[in-house]
């Protein structure tokens, strides 16, 4: 019997705010231990929380980007449990009234080949809510150590429906989600820094069965490849258990990425009874149209909408879109250049290949590039109007990348323009025929190829400035 895997993801994302979610001490990563605290972070007697407006803005923005319904009213609840990394021993979160409901993440699965677009799917979301992060526990040999710098960092929890069916889908989901959040300026999503953390609920069921199997929660998927490997591993593990006639126990397992193994976590003491109740220290949040409008104005085009536009509107090949689409700035650069005229294909080529390459070699960010969209547009125009050959264009590109000089200026200064002065051309051709009598004779005798020797000589004499088409015509006439 073959089995189908069912996967739901819970993704925690740290928001890109300057201060913490319920107090204004700085939020940050990599600071000296316990230097990002204040009475609120440490839960000193008498400290009180105050909301960070930008944290709310960012979650609403994420919700709009991910097609969620934004709740008109949401509130704050206390989730009560004791743990050394939780200063208040309750977490301020949103229990039954999250800020965002529903929504979806569009994913792209790997295609049959690198240059062929894979299948697209929309993975539905259950909810997105806002809460606070906890401190960091380091486990020593004899004791554990707590650093509260991370405590109180705004944390957005994105919960997917159990609608993913393979490790590849989960990987594609996280990739798309992460790109969206980075493009929206909502989070840097650096998993190394714990800015994006992922837990997976995984179960398998006989293909065709509708009701879900016993789920296992897989934790510690702290790199995007661990997510894929860990889920694949867990699906194999469950498959092995079931096919060996065993049954899956509901448990939380920790994935050990390096070893590629997982082990059950010793479940924390008792059945969880979090005693959620509305936080009396915080007022509820009301989201009106005016507020939504200001956020909507900042929402970028969804990545795959842009991809569709590039494929259809600009007729770009998939390989080019897959370079331009994931990078918002590069896409904008392309659209600006294309708007200045010139075949979008050619424009995209220069940007996706030459420009990207030169930037990489020079170790320069796109923002710092001397080559601007108008340079690319100018270069493409020069080639299309036949002023320079595509080979010369390559040289011109290198020059303008280095100097930022406009291509027209470079061509003029270095006299690279192709010659179309017929007098000059007639001269070069007749000299070439004279200097290649043998080839001329063979051509007259019907050997087409022989003409190349004469054309080559003309090009040599003209240092490549002669226009090949004109040279061809003139040579044939003179030899006729």
């Amino acid at each position: 019997m073959n089995y189908e895997a069912v996967i739901g993801l819970e993704v925690h994302v740290q928001l890109k705010t300057a201060s913490k979610i319920f107090t204004r001490v700085a939020a940050g990563y990599g600071e000296p231990e316990n230097t990002l605290t204040d009475p609120v972070v440490l839960a000193l007697p008498g400290a009180l929380p105050v909301m960070n407006k930008v944290a709310l803005d960012l979650v609403i923005k994420a919700g709009l980007m991910l097609e969620c319904a934004i709740a008109p009213v949401c509130k704050w609840d206390r989730k009560n449990y004791f743990y050394p990394d939780s200063p208040k021993n309750y977490q301020i979160t949103q229990y039954d009234q999250p800020l965002c409901l529903g929504g979806a993440v569009e994913i792209e699965l790997p295609g049959p080949a690198r240059n062929v677009m894979g299948e697209h799917k929309k993975i539905p979301l259950t909810r997105i809510h806002l809460e606070e992060d906890v401190g960091k526990l380091t486990h020593g040999v004899h004791d554990s150590l707590v650093d509260f710098n991370r405590a109180g960092t705004p944390l957005m929890e994105i919960v997917s429906e159990p609608a993913l069916h393979s490790a590849d889908e989960a990987f594609a989901f996280l990739t798309a989600l992460r790109l969206a959040l980075v493009q929206g300026g909502i989070s840097d999503c650096d998993m190394e820094k714990g800015q994006l953390r992922c837990d997976a609920n995984i179960s398998i069921r006989p293909a065709g069965q509708t009701q879900l199997g016993t789920k296992v929660e897989l934790k510690n998927l702290n790199s995007i490849s661990f997510v894929r490997d860990g889920i694949a591993h867990e699906i194999r593990r469950q498959h092995a258990v079931v096919t060996a006639g065993g049954t899956i126990v509901q448990e939380t397992r920790q994935y050990e990425g390096e070893a590629g193994t997982s082990a059950a976590l010793r479940s924390k003491e008792m059945a969880h009874d979090y005693r959620y109740f509305p936080d009396p220290d915080l007022m509820p949040v009301k989201v009106d149209e005016a507020w939504l409008a200001t956020i909507r104005a900042t929402v970028p085009e969804r990545m795959f909408d842009r991809q569709r536009r590039y494929l259809e509107e600009f007729q770009l090949p998939y390989t080019l879109t897959s370079v331009l689409v994931p990078q918002l700035a590069l896409g904008a650069f392309f659209e600006e250049a294309a708007a200045l005229g010139g075949k979008p294909q050619a424009v995209a080529n220069w940007i996706a290949n030459d420009l990207q390459r030169e930037l990489a070699v020079a170790g320069v960010e796109l923002a710092g590039s001397k080559v601007q969209p108008r340079h690319i547009a100018g270069l493409v125009a020069l080639v299309e109007s036949g002023v320079i050959s595509s080979n010369m264009a390559k040289e011109v590109f290198v020059e303008m990348f280095a100097t930022g000089e406009m291509p027209e200026a470079i061509v003029a200064r270095q006299g690279l323009a192709q010659s179309t002065d017929t007098g000059e051309l007639e001269q070069w051709v007749s000299e070439a025929i004279a200097g290649n009598a043998k080839a001329a004779a063979e051509f007259k005798a019907g050997n087409e190829k022989a003409l190349n020797a004469i054309k080559g000589a003309v090009m040599k004499a003209s240092q490549g400035k002669a226009n090949p088409q004109q040279v061809d015509q003139i040579a044939r006439r003179q030899l006729a």
Binding site: S19, R24, V50, K53, L145, L265
Partner: protein, 96 residues
């Protein structure tokens, strides 16, 4: 039903992280039963359609701009810490 009879002291004491002595349990059991018996009277009140009151006054959107204020120097932050090492709070080993 009389809910107070359901008070499971051991379960609740564990949730509340309170190690109660034998005498305390014996004493609390009776006193809490009295109190829970007393609050049973709330069942007489018709609360259909009544909004729960979570705040004394219903105000919305009380927040601050995302502007950083200085926090506590680490030595002050840990000034009351029972046990610390290298500017970190030390706790007994946490087994996960």
């Amino acid at each position: 039903m009389r809910l107070n009879s359901d008070l499971n002291l051991d379960y609740v004491a564990n949730l509340a992280r309170l190690a109660l002595s034998g005498e305390e349990k014996a004493q609390f059991a009776g006193q809490l039963a009295d109190i829970l018996g007393y609050v049973e009277k709330l069942k007489q009140v018709d609360v259909t359609g009544v909004e729960p009151m979570a705040h004394a006054s219903p105000v919305y959107n009380v927040w601050e701009a995302d502007v950083v204020r200085p926090g506590l120097p680490v030595e002050v932050a840990l000034g009351n810490a029972p046990v610390q090492r290298h500017n970190l709070i030390v706790v007994p080993k946490v087994v996960e």
